[in-house]
């Protein structure tokens, strides 16, 4: 009888009653790279993804490319992109707020990641001709980030990694910098405890946690739109920081761009962006311009507009242009709002018509003749207005007048857990944790103190994910 009961029990005990060598929390690029590397390192691995299966992979679902150093042109990348050049790009965008040792280590490892990731089933696509000229520095995933994730999941599954969806980790048992167990909440089994020999935390940042954002941004955060997954609420990050892990980074630093104000609150992804700023002007709710729209080539300055709009009253702004340029930028998800006159447009936007007319008249009067070329820093500029538009300034005068309303769109946050070159978390006393590793967004702040260069999010996840998995397996098998 006893044996029957135990057999029956055995039959219904969830897979996680088994003790695993490595527990990975999260389900995105960083988590999967860690899981695969740990499994290849000989460990038994369980991945707990808080989201349901469709939403697996957090923000990684929305990505498109990854930045890796390489010494020579490849089938998918033009020209070399040396370690030094990558480092200089990183130094420039972060203004020096980066951990040089870690960053250089990441850049060196990124060379090998280009191939490693392909060995895990991910496919690259030949570089794009179109809007973003990143064919030298960035490799594009064939089919986008979700295709990339699907490939990683298939490989992990084939290798024997166990994955559970809808499995949110709600608590961590940590003693003296040593991970013992995690509490996981599942829709059917309620809350259970899972122990494992090592932990990899790859559960993303806290961008989807508006309450947490408000602690640092105030009420302005109510007007932020979150571009990615609603599941990155920073719960694991908060637990780790609360249990002795050293923190890195500034909670207000994040990757934020201006996206269409009509986008959904969460998960609108890449298609809500606008790249029309250089072709027009940007005004706030008082119909005033507030920043040089022609400061730099758009992909380079793309990431500053989120912060700029966040600093405006009610966190709203309007990109205004005219009908002569509508085909100069990527087609947009939401159509532009149109008016036959500036006043009509202002009315539709809820702006003061006289104020908008003044701003446009002043701007038009300040435009100096030049030769327009949006691929270089051209000589079309304004004179005698503040702020100036230093390049690509052309008069806005051909009806219909058009506008996109924009709000700050938060991509991901930089506050994170401090790690070393082994992706091992450092405790507040500076000592490395015995068995806790972190990868991806949750430790991005080690590399990104501020600023951003396209494709680095995935580099951080893949490089540190692979290291974390390898090291976690090594620890578990010792």
């Amino acid at each position: 009888m006893n044996s029957v009961v135990s057999i029956l029990n055995g039959a219904i005990t969830p897979v996680t009653s088994k003790r695993y060598d490595v527990l990975v929390i999260g389900g995105g690029n960083a988590a999967l790279c860690a899981a695969i590397a740990a499994r290849r390192g000989g460990a038994s691995v369980l991945v707990l993804e808080g989201a349901p299966k469709f939403y697996r992979g957090g923000n990684t679902r929305h990505t498109r490319n990854m930045r890796c150093a390489h010494d020579a042109a490849t089938k998918i990348l033009t020209g070399p992109y040396t370690e030094d050049e990558f480092w200089e790009d990183l130094l420039r965008v972060t203004g020096g707020q980066t951990d040089e040792v870690l960053a250089r280590h990441m850049i060196r490892e990124s060379k090998d990641i280009l191939n490693w990731i392909v060995e895990q089933g991910v496919r690259w696509q030949p570089s794009l001709g179109g809007t973003l000229s990143l064919g030298r520095t960035n490799s594009f995933f064939l089919g986008g980030g979700r295709a990339m994730l699907n490939a990683l999941y298939l490989t992990a599954e084939r290798l024997g990694v166990d994955v559970e969806y809808d499995a949110e980790v709600t608590d961590l048992v940590i003693e003296d910098g040593m991970f013992l167990a995690a509490h996981v909440k599942r829709p059917i089994n309620g809350e259970t405890e899972i122990s494992a020999t090592s932990l990899v935390a790859a559960a993303g940042g806290f961008e989807a946690n508006i309450e947490w954002l408000k602690e640092h941004w105030g009420d302005a955060a109510d007007n932020f739109l979150i571009r990615g997954t609603p599941y990155n609420r920073g719960s694991i990050l908060k637990m780790l920081l609360g249990k002795g892990v050293q923190e890195i980074g500034d909670p207000t630093q994040c990757h934020a761009v201006a996206i269409d104000a009509r986008a959904p609150k969460f998960d609108g992804g890449i298609i809500t962006r606008h790249d029309s700023v250089v072709f027009g002007i940007v005004v706030n709710k008082h119909a005033e311009r507030f920043y040089d729209e022609g400061e730099d080539i758009w992909p380079k300055r793309y990431a500053i507009w989120g912060r700029l709009v966040a600093a405006q009253p009610d966190q709203i702004a309007y990109i205004i242009f005219d009908s002569t340029v509508v085909t100069s930028f990527m087609p947009t998800l939401f159509p532009p709002i149109a008016g036959q006159t500036v006043a009509e447009l202002a009315g539709k936007l809820g702006l003061d018509p006289a104020a908008l007319e003044n701003t446009i008249t002043d701007f038009n009067a300040a435009v100096r003749p030049g030769k327009f070329d949006h691929t270089i820093l051209d000589d079309c500029r304004t004179e005698g207005i503040t702020p100036p538009k230093t390049h690509w300034a052309r008069r806005i005068e051909t009806a219909p007048y058009l506008a996109y309303p924009v709000r700050p769109g938060i991509t991901f946050t930089y506050l994170g857990t401090r790690v070393n070159k082994e992706a091992r978390m450092l405790m507040k006393d500076g000592k490395p944790s015995a068995n806790m590793f972190a990868a991806g967004e949750i430790m991005a702040g080690n590399v990104l103190g501020k600023g951003y260069a396209a494709g680095i999010g995935m580099t951080i996840g893949s490089v540190f994910g692979r290291i974390a998995g390898r090291e976690a397996a090594k620890h578990a098998r010792n």
Binding site: F54, R61, H62, R64, R123, Q125, P126, L128, G130, F140, F141, L142, G143, G144, G145, R146, A147, N150, A151, L154, P264, D267, G269, I270, I271, T327, M330, P331, T332, L333
Partner: protein, 369 residues
């Protein structure tokens, strides 16, 4: 606003995809879409017929349902595609009826044809029907060759006429100037793309069917079906030439070209359609255009019947079963012919033309760059 609801939805999706473009490496649909900013009915029908329904862009899309953007390109284009067949069908009144109960209509057509032939024979001489006939001309003891040729010739001519009329309407609608022809290079390119089913590969991993794991079986079964069909067609053509040029009458010996081609084709037409049918039964419902299930299955069934009765005839042709089997086989072929312009058969032609148009556009773009 478009002509139909599904074209409105296709337009919405193409607007989403055009601002995303993550899928541009997967197939021809997305690069073709990128060449446009606004989409006419004809543009959407063109894109719909370029899609091979591999499913990759559904499995790879971060906005597929349950996401609120609800992006389901394969299913939407499948419905639009099926509706386009009806929209271009000639003469118009025949199109709708067929699409609704494709399976039933095809089978009924095949059986009634078989009954007709049986009746025809029986009226002449009952003993002939169940008799054993061998040697050249054996088939024609059941039905004189000239009757057979006239009957099938007429059916084929009608099918060709109806198809030509439909194809003209399609080619015009997808935006080629009237009278515009394809250049040799584009034609060759399209023949290659169609011949290898280049875009049924999900961007390289294979075709998606029952779940998010790619398998390439649909491509294999489609190849078997398509090349099986071509081989059977070749067998019939060779036999016709034999008959008129060499005066040699069917049935031919086993080693002879028409039989070899027909047998190989027949195997393809048995294995291929079964594979396609099984794949269709297993296919994830969210990728399928369920309403057109009958039309698709009807066409698969007709091909299978043609292959199966043909093979049975080959094996049993020297027995008393020959008569009824010949009637069944002829019935199936006849039904296949007359239903061609109103069923799934047209997908091959429209897709090929869409590929020609795509090859043309690409070449024009390359020259312009």
């Amino acid at each position: 606003m478009h002509g139909t609801k599904i074209l409105d939805e296709a337009d919405r999706l193409m607007t989403v995809c055009n601002s995303c473009r993550y899928c541009e490496g997967l197939c021809a649909v997305f690069p073709a879409m990128e060449m446009r900013r606004a989409f006419s009915d004809g543009d959407l029908n063109y894109l719909a017929n370029l899609c091979h329904s591999c499913g990759a862009c559904y499995v790879d899309c971060q906005f597929s349902p349950p996401h609120e953007f609800n992006v389901n390109v394969p299913k939407t284009l499948a419905i639009a595609r099926a509706e386009s067949y009806a929209a271009y069908a000639w003469p118009r009144p025949l199109s709708g009826a067929f699409a609704r109960n494709g399976l039933v209509i095809s089978i009924v057509a095949a059986l009634s044809m078989a009954a007709f032939i049986l009746g025809f024979v029986a009226l002449n001489d009952r003993t002939v029907l169940f008799g054993v006939h061998t040697g050249p001309g054996a088939f024609y003891r059941l039905m004189p060759h000239n009757t057979m040729a006239a009957l099938f010739g007429a059916a084929l001519l009608y099918a060709i006429l109806a198809l030509v009329m439909s194809v003209r309407a399609f080619w015009r609608d997808i935006g080629d100037p009237i009278g515009g022809r394809a250049d040799g290079g584009s034609l060759l390119q399209a023949i290659r793309d169609a011949g290898e089913l280049r875009y049924l590969h999900g961007g390289g991993v294979g075709c998606f069917n029952e779940d998010d794991r790619p398998t390439d079986r649909r491509k294999l079964y489609h190849h078997l079906t398509f090349y099986g069909f071509l081989l059977c067609f070749a067998a019939t053509s060779v036999a016709t030439l034999y008959h008129y040029l060499l005066g040699r009458e069917a049935p031919y010996p086993l080693w002879d070209l028409p039989v070899v081609l027909g047998a190989l084709g027949g195997i393809g037409l048995i294995v291929g359609p079964i594979g396609l049918f099984v794949a269709k039964m297993r296919r994830a419902p969210e990728l399928l255009d369920q309403e057109r299930y009958g039309m698709d299955v009807g066409f698969i069934a007709m091909l299978f019947l043609t292959g199966a009765t043909g093979m049975a005839l080959l094996i049993l042709r020297e027995t008393a079963a020959m008569g009824p089997l010949l009637a069944l086989h002829l019935g199936a072929v006849f039904a296949l012919f007359i239903t061609m312009p109103y069923g799934k058969f047209v997908h091959g032609i429209y897709r090929f033309l869409a590929l020609v148009r795509y090859a043309k556009e690409r070449r024009a773009e390359m020259i312009a760059e």
